[in-house]
Chain length 162, copies 2
DNA sequence: ATAAAAACGATAACCATTCTCAGTTTAAAA
DNA sequence: TTTTAAACTGAGAATGGTTATCGTTTTTAT
């Protein structure tokens, strides 16, 4: 997977964007933190560890550029900040997430769940689908387990007091 | 449908929120502009026509309150503003939208498209689904037609010049 | 009527993001 | 290589949607 960076570099070069240390460090950070849904601020702080002189504006500019190059996806969970995900190589342009309303963690779900739905939309609404986002909000298995545990210990306590 | 307002009023009263003219005017505006995906600013300007003395902060406060009461849904299309949709009565808590990347209009699509997908998610990921959002980004039928028309006239022009 | 609690309008504060600008770096041409 | 123009950068100001503050007004219960 080491040539993933190389491929991104090549892509920049082909479109006559310059290969700066700041951009390289940013890509590096994104690669090292896949699945983490980093905000621009997050990326900024992480890049600063490698390249302390970098400015926040440059991080924003680089993320915007990578988004246009379709290297990262800019996504929004409605919490007031944009998050930037490295796109899986060869992956279609989709976003399927499970957002836990208890602990806030965001998990991914498999692609292709929506192929059928997409067909229906294209046909019934004459809408040419280029991209989609599907986000489920609910309670993840970890929080369900936690809640169950709390319930049980509350029950035990109630037995003692009664 | 006139008692829709009444029901919302009742709901406010039951939860001991006060029934102020500002809140009433805001609900009225939302009812008169369903399907429009109004931003807070939009609502503010429309309410101002009925009640010119209202403040922007009050509109935000009211929309926030209505969102908590599950009367409106606060949604985000990634364009930097939150939009507020009156929830259909009896409708499940879902958001299905078609966002046109050409003209920016947002259309609704029918509910129930995802019942099957939701089941899979609950089973395979042990994730208790409370809500979901599905947004397709693409080109609406209007813009498809417009593009086709432009193409044709360009062709005609090219025939003349050649 | 009166007092406590809620709600209000105006506007300041906040905060994520974008813009500006003067100085620096890059990469292609000389 | 050196040169040069365009691209890129960091710092911080500006922007814009949203939230917080505060003194005043309105509502509801006593």
């Amino acid at each position: 997977m080491e040539n993933r960076v190389e491929r991104i570099k090549k892509q920049l070069h082909e479109q006559s964007y310059k290969l700066t240390p700041q951009r390289e460090a940013t890509v590096q950070v994104l690669l090292e933190n896949e699945e983490d849904h980093l905000s621009a601020e997050d990326v900024y702080l992480l890049v600063k560890e490698k390249a302390p002189e970098i400015g926040l504006a440059t991080v924003y500019r680089t993320l915007e550029l990578l988004n246009e190059l379709e290297v990262v996806d800019k996504i929004n969970f409605g919490d007031g900040v944009s998050r930037y995900d490295l796109r899986k190589e060869g992956a279609s342009h989709s976003h399927h997430h499970l957002v836990c309303i208890e602990c806030g963690t965001v998990d991914e779900i498999q692609e292709d769940l929506l192929a059928e739905v997409e067909k229906i939309v294209e046909k019934d609404y004459q809408f040419k689908v280029k991209d989609h986002r599907l986000t489920f909000h609910g309670v993840c298995h970890r929080c369900q387990a936690k809640a169950k545990k709390n319930e049980e210990s509350a029950e035990a306590a109630s037995l003692h007091t009664n």
